[in-house]
Symmetry: C2
Subunit: 355 residues, 2 copies
């Protein structure tokens, strides 16, 4: 039988426990208790800071914990407390989430403020049973990135754990938390930016406005800006795409080239804008001389295009960081109120609108 020790003071352990020279033992709360000459419950109390005890025993126990590098077994703890300290993170493949890395990195960094917690990820497909996953792992909370059906979300809600939606806008179901960008403002600023550059016929490239509230909000910003500057909204200048990817962008680009009046494009997703640029460059190399374009998201690809794409930065890292903070606070405080947080956006001017 081999045990493992994760301690620097093997001698101390050997002195008090039956551990041979070649054995290794993993320290438990009992070991600490025995060495400190107290009961396991006292050690547990000290660790968790519940009920006070004499400074002496406290210090003694803490010193031992430190010296033996004791780490409580989270599994055992979970079993009794019914908390896994595990947060689920769910995302789909289908959206061009070039920013997934950043977001996940933000989440991972943010969760380090809560040393007990960890992030566990999955994706879903038709046959995948998310409820089972949550139940099986006894998740304490869950984050969804992007659009998921309200049907799914409602189901998950029955499991009675805090839910946080990133970049999703549903009918406001209680006990669901939202983190998104200042999307409407972003749409406004992007449009205003073009207006101030003297664009008169500003096209809108977007995902589905009926099915995707995210785009709809950005669209509202576009609309308001036009109104504020006395430009009439022209439905013919709105180009919707079901899919949000590079090739769909090229298709929109194709359509846009057919209207020679257009002198500005607000693309509500960078990846569409990148496709549009690709298509426009093919026809005539006139960005930004004849036509300006601005995107939304600030994905890395914005820098790769020629010309480089102006855009609305949506603070992706911060989104992840904030999200995990909010969710864990909900969990810890057992707070059922629904919260909505907007991450500030900012405009990034690059070559595609430099005139």
């Amino acid at each position: 039988m081999i045990f493992f020790i994760y301690t620097n003071n093997v001698d101390l352990v050997k002195r008090f426990t039956k551990v041979g020279d070649n054995d290794l033992k993993k320290i438990t709360i009992k070991d600490i208790a025995k060495l400190a000459g107290v009961s396991p419950s006292t050690v547990s109390n000290v660790i968790n800071g519940v009920s006070k005890c004499s400074t002496d025993t406290r210090d003694n126990i803490l010193a031992l914990i430190e010296e033996l590098n004791y780490k409580p077994n989270i599994t055992a703890k979970s079993l009794v407390t019914k908390r896994s300290k595990l947060i689920g993170f769910v995302f789909k493949q289908d959206n061009e989430n070039s920013f997934l890395q950043n977001l996940l990195y933000g989440i991972q960094s943010g969760i380090k403020n809560f040393p007990e917690y960890d992030i566990i990820t999955t994706n879903i497909n038709n046959s995948y049973n998310l409820e089972e996953w949550i139940t099986k792992r006894n998740l304490d909370g869950i984050i969804f990135l992007g659009m998921f059906s309200s049907n799914l979300i409602s189901k998950i809600q029955r499991l009675n754990i805090p839910i946080l939606l990133i970049d999703n806008y549903f009918e406001q179901i209680p006990n669901i938390n939202y983190v998104y960008s200042e999307d409407t403002l972003g749409g406004y600023l992007a449009t205003e930016h073009l207006i101030k550059k003297k664009c008169k016929h500003i096209a809108l490239a977007t995902g589905s406005l009926k099915e995707n509230e995210l785009f709809f909000r950005r669209y509202l910003g576009y609309k308001s800006a036009l109104e504020d500057y006395g430009i009439k909204l022209d439905g013919n200048l709105i180009f919707e795409s079901k899919h949000i990817d590079f090739n769909s962008g090229k298709i929109l680009g194709e359509l846009i080239t057919q209207n020679k009046n257009i002198d500005g494009i607000v693309s509500l997703a960078d990846i569409l804008a990148i496709g549009i640029i690709k298509r426009l460059n093919k026809e005539y190399n006139k960005i930004p001389d004849d036509i300006l374009i601005i995107g939304f998201d600030n994905i890395p690809g914005c820098e790769y295009t020629t010309p480089q794409l102006s855009t609305i930065d949506q603070g992706i890292y911060e989104k992840g960081y904030k999200s995990i903070n909010i969710l864990i606070n909900k969990i810890e405080n057992n707070n059922k109120d629904s919260i909505e947080v907007q991450i500030p956006i900012k405009i990034i001017e690059r070559e595609s609108t430099k005139k």
Copy 2:
């Protein structure tokens, strides 16, 4: 006191357990046992398929499990089996991992072949104690993406769990598994591709050849190809960059423009190539007329540039998918042999080498 039921047959439970109308109860193995009129261990045996039992009791138990939608509590199981069924996935922010999403998606998809297992992620920074994380969560195995110091890996190894390194080449430490691409072949094919297009002075854009074995192997392919086609390797045509990102690419591009002889570039990372293209386009718009360029990785950004970047596709999704498979098989079979798997690469010809 409120319980939760995750079952469709509340009545059945109520009949046998003290559960009021408004209570909900979470099904345990004891419930199944009681309802089936057997002992918990028998249920456990059936679930885990150990030791045979009469078809009758078996069917009966299975039917109940199905009907009550019983899911074993993985935490309780972990506590006794000492297996968390949790695989750690560690990556850094610093490399431009535009492919992280794909890779992670591959991992997540692959892990669905092992319904008990899940993937738990973290990143590391200077102060982060990875060993503590692994210990705390009692991880069954761990995957590293990219370069990590052999120092770190050795430390982790002491924890005695299977380790799998993706895109990393260390001195071959035993019990460590490797998944990487056919990097040398890729370097060879990329170079040969340019040679066949009549390039005579082929520059190499790369990360550090001393510090990063990944690039070194790709470089070996470059070198072999030149040899095979009787072209002398010219050290002046090798451009190393410490960092692998877009801006470093632009810097390399700057250097490359200073040697007017160069008529082909093999870039051992797409992201460098994209920067190079950006810089070259500024000077003279002569890709692919005067100078060809091919990258390595096939990240989405390859399509966004003008011209679009030819490259070596390294099967990122498959890498993730295979990796998790290998690792879990190691765990399940308690197999200590070290394994190395190469994911096949293929050349993708786009505009930047179309001549």
